[in-house]
């Protein structure tokens, strides 16, 4: 980005909750069911049907709000947001307006460089999702569509909207925010938060201003991003585009812009003649939501360890941030790692094994961690064996594979596969003596002060011992023979 300009970005995130039933009726929440099979009079907006709020969804949004440290308000109301669209059954959406359930929170995010920033959360509110339209016609474009198909399975699915403060300053930071939000939602177990399936959706409000200015520039709203990468790229594109517009002496228009994935650019949607008036008013079919102190305490008390807290715990245990996040993103790894830490294993070594060889093995075998035979106890035993010189690092990899394939504990595998490290000085000494006798020239060069042949000689000994000799001991003995140490 041009150094004279600063981007100001706020994100609006929609998270579909994976509750048992929809927000205001008993229909199942399901992804991928046959069209129009999970709907009823309420979510189809049939005449006379009335909404009844889903308590499980309210509980979940409170958990989301609490995880941002939001105030869970005493009194909250639903409003009707009025607009006509064929996939909106009632032609109004039940949403929240000036009295959302959660306000004033924050999310700590860490970007790829490891730089931490705090992004303010303005509000978290509850609403219902719309149905889905499919426009059929020449090359799938809306304008040339001959007809549209509607699927109301998604209509009425509980949707949580998280609105951030305009605290984000770069596309990188926006992606980091999205990743962290996804982590939180998954850690809470309230949604699978998949961008590709639409269960997590981002709209970005982007503007630019000269560095040092306090006033905000005119913003555009970028929609239609359905992966973390396109979120990043769309924002980066939009920042560059706006800078180019302003530098050319033009005005940035306040508009909605769609990210066109194939073309890697945003395009402006048709400008409305006037700004949309949603005519919000209190939803008379619902009574206000009241959150009392007991409920609030229950929600806060039942929160799991949040990703940021866990990350900081791992960092202070001595592991680096990428490893901390890699482990933290998978509950099975978290459980394994935390139990192994508890048992006293070396954090850094165990993290290396988990994020390296363990992941590689699982990928190769196409199994989940839970399906492998590895236990926290095995992990501790393995790193102890390496640290104590019982197995060489390279032999340890083979030990691990044997353990993961169910051959037994690391020590049992090392014995069975004859992978134990030879540290006995007399045995290793004999092997060294044999190599030195054979490679007299190399030894002579070392005597003369040239240390280059050391690696070669160690390699010869390792080869002779089938890789089992303690490499450090071998190296020490050769140096000794060459007149060092």
């Amino acid at each position: 980005m041009n150094a004279e300009w600063e981007a100001v970005i706020g994100l609006e995130t929609h998270v579909e909750l994976q509750t048992q039933s929809k927000m205001f009726c008993g229909c199942a929440v399901s992804f991928g069911a046959a069209p129009n099979t999970t709907c009823c009079p309420v979510c189809l907006g049939l005449p006379g049907a009335l909404p009844v709020p889903n308590e499980e969804a309210i509980e979940r949004i409170l958990r989301i709000g609490a995880s941002f440290g939001c105030t869970l308000v005493d009194y909250s109301e639903f409003h009707r947001k009025n607009y006509f669209y064929p996939d909106l059954p009632k032609n109004y959406q039940i949403s929240q307006f000036d009295l959302p359930l959660c306000v004033d929170g924050a999310l700590e995010v860490v970007d790829t460089e490891g730089v931490a920033t705090t992004v303010g959360i303005t509000r978290v509110h509850m609403e219902e999702d719309t149905g889905k339209s499919r426009h059929l016609g020449a090359d799938g474009r809306i304008h040339e569509a001959a007809h549209s198909l509607l699927d109301f399975n998604r209509a009425g699915v509980p949707l949580v909207e998280v609105v951030s403060e305009p605290d984000i300053r770069s596309a990188d930071e926006a992606r980091a925010y999205a990743v962290e939000l996804q982590r939180v939602v998954r850690a809470l177990g309230v949604s699978d938060a998949r961008l590709e399936e639409g269960s997590m959706r981002f709209d970005a409000n982007v503007s630019v201003r000269p560095v040092g200015d306090d006033e905000l520039g005119t913003r555009s709203e970028v929609k239609n991003v359905n992966s973390l990468r396109s979120l990043h790229d769309a924002i980066a594109f939009e920042i560059d585009r706006q800078i180019a517009v302003v530098e050319a002496g033009d005005r940035v228009l306040q508009e909605t812009r769609h990210w066109i994935e194939d073309e890697r650019r945003t395009i402006g949607m048709r400008m409305k003649e006037e700004s949309e008036d949603y005519r919000y008013f209190q939803e008379p079919d619902l009574v206000p939501l009241v959150v009392d102190d007991r409920w609030r305490a229950e929600v806060i008390g039942s929160l799991p360890e949040l990703p940021a807290v866990r990350r900081n715990r791992y960092l202070s245990a001595g592991i680096d941030q990428p490893a901390a996040d890699n482990i933290g993103d998978d509950p099975a790894f978290v459980a394994m790692f935390d139990e192994a830490l508890e048992a006293g294993g070396d954090a850094k070594a165990m993290a290396n094994w988990l994020t390296g060889e363990v992941v590689a093995h699982l990928r190769r075998e196409e199994v989940e961690l839970a399906a492998s035979a590895l236990t926290p106890g095995h992990l501790v035993e393995l790193v102890d064996m390496v640290a104590g010189g019982e197995v060489s690092p390279s032999a340890a990899k083979e030990v691990l594979h044997g353990v993961m394939d169910g051959e037994g504990t690391p020590r049992a595998v090392a014995v069975a596969r004859d992978l134990g490290q030879i540290s006995d000085q007399s045995v290793v000494g004999a092997a060294v003596a044999e190599v030195l006798a054979r490679e007299a020239d190399a030894l002579a060069r070392m005597h003369a002060g040239d240390m280059k042949p050391l690696g070669f000689l160690v390699g010869q000994v390792m080869k002779d011992t089938g890789g089992k000799a303690d490499p450090k001991l071998v190296s020490d003995l050769i140096r000794e023979a060459a007149g060092e140490g």
Partner: protein, 492 residues
């Protein structure tokens, strides 16, 4: 010879219980009555003969099996055509829902069926319950049984008319601004609006959700209490439904009014109210005093603004409630080149002028820049009215007033002046704004032989008190007259 169609629900239930006649015979008598009266009234939009005979047969079977039927078992009941009936056309009196077959029963209908009632048909109404004369029905007006050149009131004019002539022994309507009580007054029957939330709104096609309430029509106060008892009570499908157990409706019908405090609403006894109506109301107040009640005049100045507030709040809510009628999923569809055009055309063609007027009013009242001056202000008036009524009820047990400023007016008399028509609701609207229960019952005929209704209002959930006073009013009035059309003889 007694005609079963002239029985009250109480008498019919006793006759059924004593096996003096069958539910099928009762239904036949009522349908015969309908076949005569409908030619003059057009009070029904749909008669579900097959469903009704099946229900009557089931009722008879259960009696012959020795089961003890409830008070509505085998009783023919009509419901306003804005309540969903599974598989039976439900139109709301609108072209936009012509031919619509709901896939489910409204809670009220379901409870009626559960109580063994014979739901025999759907009654005419002003389109989407918007009106005070039943002239706004897309399927033609209903006529007043006392004088077919006059309106039956509205919007539940069909339900009031069928009870008045005996083409149903009881009926249900909905009351958003007086739509049960005003037609009850104009047709000379008893009509009651319960406390908001006492009867589930599930399946009632919404006009103005915060004001709509379902309630019964009957020929007697006791019948109305019985009807209400069958459908009242918490419903998990209506989030605004009252969670407590329903009040005892019929427990004090015989208790009289001795020692009770009755407030006469000053603002509803003067300007704008016809002299016959004021006189009849005053006479009944005097009679109540004679029966031992203490009477005081109560001034509720905010009533002056109630009508204006109502005509902002109700249209605002209706503008959203009626947005779903767009031709996409059900009902009328008028094609267009785009979905926007299809929706616009469907709505322009499907809704009648009064409905369009209210949608536009409501949309305007909710628009950015106008919200606070209109909708916001109306909500503040609503709060003020509620507060004034609450303080009145610290002084009195019930408030009384006329139900309608006039007796039945002529067909066409007010259709050209919406404001004049809106004024028909001046006495009834306050109870909708406050959510309190109110009842209308006939107390006299005016000089032209048309019935005059008397309204009793009570605090929230004080239905028992309401019915107690209403029962005394009924005894004091001794109103037994029936319209000439209450006959099964062919009227020439």
């Amino acid at each position: 010879m007694t005609d079963l169609a002239d029985f009250t629900i109480g008498d019919a239930a006793a006759g059924l219980k004593g096996l003096e006649f069958s539910a099928t015979e009762l239904l036949e008598a009522v349908l015969k009555r309908a076949s005569v009266s409908e030619a003059h009234l057009h009070a029904y939009l749909t008669l579900d003969r097959d469903g009704a005979f099946e229900a009557a047969r089931r009722s008879d079977d259960s009696r012959s099996n020795g089961e003890t039927p409830g008070p509505l078992d085998g009783i023919p009941i009509a419901v306003k055509d804005n309540m969903c009936t599974r598989g039976v056309e439900t139109t709301c009196g609108s072209k936009i829902l012509s031919g619509y077959l709901p896939p489910y029963d409204a809670t009220t209908v379901r409870r009626l069926r559960g109580a063994g009632a014979v739901v025999l048909g759907k009654t005419n109404l002003d389109e989407f319950a918007m009106g005070s004369s039943t002239e706004n029905s897309a399927f033609g007006p209903t006529r007043n049984p006392w004088d077919t050149d006059r309106v039956p009131g509205g919007s539940s004019g069909g339900s009031a008319a069928v009870v008045a002539v005996g083409s149903a022994l009881g009926a249900f309507g909905s009351d958003t601004g007086g739509s049960i009580r005003q037609p009850a007054a104009l047709c000379g029957v008893v009509g009651m609006k319960p406390t908001y939330g006492v009867v589930s709104r599930y399946g009632l096609i919404a006009f103005a959700s915060s004001l709509d309430q379902i309630g019964p029509f009957g020929r007697t106060v006791a019948d109305v209490a019985t009807l209400l008892g069958a459908v009242a009570g918490f419903d998990i499908n209506d989030a605004t439904s009252y969670r407590g157990s329903p009040p005892d409706f019929a427990g004090s019908l015989e208790s009289g009014v001795d020692g009770m405090r009755v407030g006469v609403v000053s603002e509803l006894m003067g300007e704008g109210i016809s002299s016959d109506v004021v006189a009849a109301t005053r006479a009944m107040v005097d009679a109540l005093e004679g029966a031992g009640a203490s009477v005081v005049e109560i001034s509720l100045p905010s009533i002056e603004y109630a009508l204006s507030a109502y005509y902002l709040i109700a249209p605002a809510e209706c503008s959203a409630n009626l947005a779903r009628f767009d031709g996409v999923r059900y009902g009328l569809r008028v094609d267009g080149a785009t979905s926007d055009e299809m929706m616009s055309r469907t709505r322009a063609e499907g809704f009648g002028p009064e409905v369009i007027r209210r949608i536009l009013l409501g949309t305007y009242a909710l628009s950015a820049g106008y919200y606070d001056a209109f909708y916001g202000q109306a909500q503040r008036v609503r709060t003020l009215v509620t507060r004034e009524f609450a303080s009145a009820y610290e002084q009195v047990d019930v408030l009384v007033s006329p139900t309608s400023p006039t007796a039945a007016f002529a067909v066409g008399e007010k259709t050209t002046d919406p404001m004049d028509m809106y004024y028909s609701d001046v006495c009834t609207i306050p109870s909708n704004l406050t959510g309190h229960p109110a009842i209308s019952l006939p107390v006299a005929l005016d000089g032209g032989g048309l019935p005059i209704g008397f309204q009793v209002m009570a605090p929230a959930l004080a239905e028992e008190t309401l019915f107690r006073v209403a029962a005394e009013v009924e005894r004091l009035a001794g109103f037994v007259q029936r319209p000439a059309l209450a006959t099964s003889e062919v009227v020439v």
